[in-house]
């Protein structure tokens, strides 16, 4: 863990909710100066605590729906380098959205996003399975996303409060 301050944590918590909040607004909300906020953000960007500002997309709202699959991969680790080199040879594929080393019954969990079922199947059979260290794969297609990165996708989170109350 990089030495991260309480103040940086507060900035981070707000950015995680809304990465588009401007430094001026963050400064007001946290009772700090704009310079302090900018400094904290820059520091966290530099040491890669903040990796990227991305958009969470609900692809099911689009007509050209994406296909996502989770793949359990069993591999033979390499002497001296463990899983890391094999992991690299997998995560460098742009189709791979996330890759985790797991405890338990399998070794790596790969998340693949593709335009069609066929594209994902072809990735597994032509690319993933052919890597020498890969012993077996099990592919699970995601049917529906309810929640991702703490964000609920269903649209029932509206404000139920009365418009005016004492």
């Amino acid at each position: 863990m990089t030495g991260i301050s309480d103040f940086q944590l507060k900035v981070l918590a707000l950015l995680q909710e809304d990465a588009r909040l401007k430094p001026e607004v963050l400064a007001t909300m946290l009772g700090a100066t704009v310079e302090e906020v900018k400094g904290a953000i820059e520091a966290m960007e530099q040491n890669h605590v903040i990796v990227k500002y991305a958009t969470i997309v609900n692809w099911s709202k689009m007509h050209d729906e994406k296909v996502t699959a989770l793949i359990e991969v069993q591999i033979t680790p390499e002497r001296g380098r463990g899983f890391d080199r094999i992991a690299e040879s997998i995560y460098l594929y742009p189709e791979v959205k996330s890759l985790y080393l797991m405890s338990g019954a399998y070794d790596l969990q790969v998340e693949i996003e593709g335009d069609s079922l066929k594209q994902v199947a072809s990735f597994v059979s032509n690319k993933l399975s052919t890597i020498e260290a890969v012993l077996s794969t099990k592919t699970y297609f995601i049917l529906k996303k309810y929640k991702q990165d703490g964000i609920i996708f269903e649209e029932n989170e509206s404000d139920h409060r009365m418009m005016v109350s004492p």
Binding site: L21, T28, M29, L30, M162, M163, V164, P166
Partner: protein, 405 residues
């Protein structure tokens, strides 16, 4: 058929209007200004509202789950009139550790249907006809009407923005008469966001003592202070005996709809309040009591997170009012800002109504909260940052246009 018509014709003609049957005291009480404004807002679409007097968080899941669990286990019976003893003990522990005031769970605490019931019970238990009840204003809208219904006479004490809406010794002394019996305190304050510190309380406690008053201290917003920790009036030297401490779970734990509060005080007074409670409602809802127990036991972290979030939005909204040229004292508690709109030349009512019609922003006119409220607008910042930003923007444009004439 013929039977029916002969039966109908035998009904004596009613000479009184239905309203003539009403108790005149109840009939003559004006509906709250908030209600009137609510009706107006309800007719409109796409309004951004700063008019909501409740948290924008949903009750934390573990608290909701505790209630669901209690139902699954069949805990659907009455509890004792004063509430589950486990909950009363948890309340005592909480008040002791958070606000340094000690109560006996058996005799000095009762669980009520919201803080509102506790206020009603306290006033009904204490007031004899004609007793004067002193109420610092602007304040929550129910103290005066309930005083009136209970046969008392409500006496407002005006407080001012220049004092951050604190109650001062002079203002209190000015309204005291031989009939003065009860002082109602509500700090942190709805609608002003004002708080009282230990030093602020000292002279008030002295006046209370000298005039042998009893105090109902509504501390429902106790957890929502920013910068300094809430000081309970009951924790002031010599005031515990004279104070009925009223609070609840709604504001601290985002549990408004559960309707769960409590009152703590001298055993004789709690016993009297309990008598009314027993004859009117029996006990507070059982599942809500289980939820409250969970909130007190495991909910503090979540509560702190919510308070931090209100604090961030408080700074945003106060800065926002300054930026658009509306004077706004710094609210140090609750989740309301109470900016002055006097510079626009409009009354609170006019301002709020035109703001709604011309800018589609709802906020409650300050005069709904009694003396000292005119010229102000209650703006709840318990809403999203996006809503707050947009609301301030719209209010800014509206004020700019007004000032351009």
């Amino acid at each position: 058929m013929s039977n029916e018509s002969s039966h109908q014709s035998s009904i004596p003609v009613r000479t009184r209007q239905m309203s003539d049957y009403l108790n005149p005291t109840v009939r003559d009480i004006k509906p709250s200004g908030i209600r009137r404004f609510f009706d107006l807002v309800s007719t409109r679409k796409d309004v951004i509202t700063l008019g909501v007097g409740e948290p924008d968080f949903i009750t934390p899941w573990h608290v909701r789950e505790a209630a669901v669990m209690s139902l699954e286990r069949g805990k659907t019976q009455y509890t004792s009139n004063a509430g589950m003893i486990e909950l009363r003990e948890a309340i005592c522990n909480y008040l002791h550790s958070s606000f340094h005031v000690e109560y006996n769970a058996e005799k000095e605490v009762m669980v009520t249907i919201g803080g509102s019931e506790a206020i009603d019970l306290a006033l009904r238990a204490l007031i004899s006809p004609g007793d004067e009840v002193l109420v610092p204003e602007p304040c929550y809208i129910s103290y005066s009407p309930i005083t009136t219904i209970s046969g008392g006479v409500a006496v407002g004490i005006e407080t001012f923005a220049k004092d951050n809406f604190k109650l001062t010794e002079e203002a209190l002394r000015k309204v005291i008469t031989p009939r003065s019996k009860i002082l109602i305190l509500c700090y942190p304050s709805n609608p002003t966001g004002g708080i009282m510190t230990y030093e602020d309380w000292l002279p008030i406690a002295k006046v209370v003592e000298e005039n042998d008053l009893i105090v109902i201290s509504d501390e429902i917003y106790a957890e929502l202070t920013y910068g300094s920790k809430h000081v309970s009036f009951a924790a002031m030297p010599g005031m515990r005996e004279r104070t009925i401490l009223v609070s609840g779970f709604a504001k601290a734990f985002a549990m408004t709809g559960w309707r769960l509060g409590y009152a703590c005080g001298h055993p004789d007074i709690i016993a009297a309040m309990l008598k009314i409670h027993q004859y009117t409602v029996m006990c507070a809802p059982t599942m809500a009591q289980y939820a409250a127990l969970e909130a007190l036991t495991n909910g503090m972290e979540e509560k702190d997170r919510m308070v931090e979030s209100y604090n961030q939005r408080r700074r945003l909204v106060v800065q926002g009012f300054h930026d658009i040229g509306l004077e706004c004292h710094e609210p140090q508690g609750a989740f309301y800002a109470f900016p002055s709109i006097k510079s626009t030349g409009l009354t609170s009512e006019e301002f709020a109504q035109r703001l709604l019609e011309e800018a589609n922003v709802a906020a409650v006119p300050g005069d709904a909260f009694g003396l000292g409220g005119e010229g102000h607008l209650r703006c709840s910042y318990a809403t999203s940052v996006a809503n707050l930003t947009e609301a301030i923007e719209r209010i800014g444009q509206f004020v700019y246009k007004l000032k351009q004439g």
